[in-house]
């Protein structure tokens, strides 16, 4: 079925309101061929879940298998840099299929069990208190810069056993890697700089962990080399992955969730009255305005989906914001309702690649939202002019300035 919807996934209207754009695709052309970027755009909940639960049909080896140049296009002169970026990202365990994916994930999976993450809750709570004490003294804050950014960087740095004074440096490098989901044609330069910087930083730390293993996450990951699950290059790449995935997504969860709560004062008040709703409220924030906008697979063979033939090596991108607002799955999908139950959103994906850090993100979200509503009952925006990063991978606010006076 054809649709009149344009194909520019980086257009300002799509970046500002993915729900309108992808919602229309979901209704009119749920398995849409985007000719501009040569990618299938998958927007229905059931299709998204089916696709990601069939990893044998839709490979995660996107960087390794995709024969086409990156999209949007980059200058000819940057192709060399793209090769490096591509090789590096291809070593991420999330870019692997079975059986190597299982072996690689197993090394770190046990670190992130719900029980293990629960043990971090007091540390998360204390870190939140410190950050909000500072903010309260100032009378206003940018939720992004002053709260949502330092918190997850602090937590993941602590887990990896990285010196706390390195946090700003880590954040600066990690920000360069976020260019992967952006349309900027010059993005290969910051990507390459970010990779090189983080590899230089982490290499000696990994050597040290291999010589003197501790119980930190970096030691756990490095142990994968001895177990034959990772090469040294893969240990390095996946240390970068953990550092990156461990915070950008959480920043977005906290910012997008805080914004949703501010824009629905009755929900803010409800959470304040009933702190036990923090678990469901966090799930609803994850559903309503998810941190990750879309991820990609590559067809491992010809696949028929709703009468469309996805050819082998075709790109297929699945969009979480539209799946999470699918009226076929969620009653009143555009309503923000922190009591929603059940809430089988796909903010963390599904299937074998379901987010490794999901429980950690949940703990951070629950503690962050609980603390905000308790301490700042009158929190409101100081501007209505909110902007998002031009990314198709992340739903990232540029800033979220608030006050409570």
């Amino acid at each position: 079925m054809a649709t009149a919807v344009h194909d520019d996934l980086f257009a300002p209207d799509v970046i500002a309101d993915p729900y309108g754009y992808f919602g229309r695709l979901r209704a009119e052309d749920p398995v849409h061929w985007n000719g501009k970027y040569e990618v299938w755009v998958i927007t229905r909940y059931d299709d998204v879940v089916w696709l990601i639960r069939h990893p044998e049909l839709f490979s995660s080896e996107v960087f390794k298998r995709d024969p086409r140049p990156p999209y949007p296009p980059i200058p000819e002169a940057d192709i060399q840099m793209y090769s490096l970026v591509r090789e590096f990202f291809a070593d991420f365990f999330i870019q692997h299929d079975r059986p190597s994916h299982t072996e690689m994930r197993m090394v770190v999976h046990g670190y992130f069990t719900p029980r293990a993450m629960e043990a971090w809750r007091p540390m998360v709570r204390a870190a939140i208190k410190d950050l909000l004490d500072e903010a309260e003294a100032k009378g206003q804050m940018d939720v992004m810069q002053d709260f949502a950014t330092p918190l997850p960087v602090l937590v993941i740095a602590r887990m990896l056993g990285l010196p706390q004074q390195d946090r700003r440096f880590i954040r600066e490098l990690a920000q360069k890697l976020l260019f992967i989901g952006r349309g900027d044609p010059t993005r290969m330069r910051p990507l390459t700089d970010g990779i090189n910087g983080l590899v230089d930083y982490l290499s000696p730390l990994i050597d040290e962990r291999l010589a003197h293993p501790g119980d930190d996450l970096l030691s756990v990951l490095a142990s994968g080399e001895g177990r034959g699950a990772y090469s040294r290059d893969e240990v390095l790449a996946n240390a970068v992955l953990l550092l990156l995935a461990g915070h950008e997504t959480t920043i977005n969860l906290i910012c997008n969730g805080t914004l949703a709560l501010i824009r629905h004062p009755e929900q803010w008040a409800l959470l304040q009255e009933s702190p036990a709703l923090a678990v469901r409220a966090t799930e609803e924030c994850l559903r309503y305005d998810p941190p990750v906008k879309s991820l990609q697979r590559i067809a491992a063979e010809d696949v028929d989906l709703r009468g469309n033939v996805l050819r082998k090596l075709d790109r297929a991108r699945w969009f979480i914001p539209s799946a999470n607002r699918d009226p076929g799955k969620f009653p009143e999908p555009d309503q923000f309702d922190i009591t929603r139950d059940p809430n089988p959103h796909v903010a963390f994906g599904s299937g074998i690649h379901h987010c490794l850090g999901a429980t950690l993100a949940r703990v951070e979200g629950q503690e962050a939202f609980s603390a905000l509503v308790e301490r700042f009952p009158a929190m409101h925006l100081t501007t209505e002019e909110l902007e998002y990063q031009p990314s198709i991978t992340f739903r990232s606010l540029k800033a979220l300035p608030v006050t409570w006076n």
Partner: protein
Amino acid sequence: MPRTLRVRVDHTVCVGNAMCTAIAPGVFTLNDDRQSQVVDPAGETEEKILEAAENCPVGAILVENADTGERLFPATRELPNGPSARSSR
């Protein structure tokens, strides 16, 4: 003689992460919806089964002593978190 276990997977929360099928393949397998199902609650040692339950990222696996009904996982004192929090089990 090992005790008899009752093992269940809550399909309202299972996301098909399939770690249980990697850790305890004699007990768990994926169904047509790619969610975990129990094929043989005695297909692995108790230790392996509890390891699989503990490693479920959404807490979808329930393990009990079949004779006494005693819950072995998750422990009742544990705080529910995320999607499994909503089931009243």
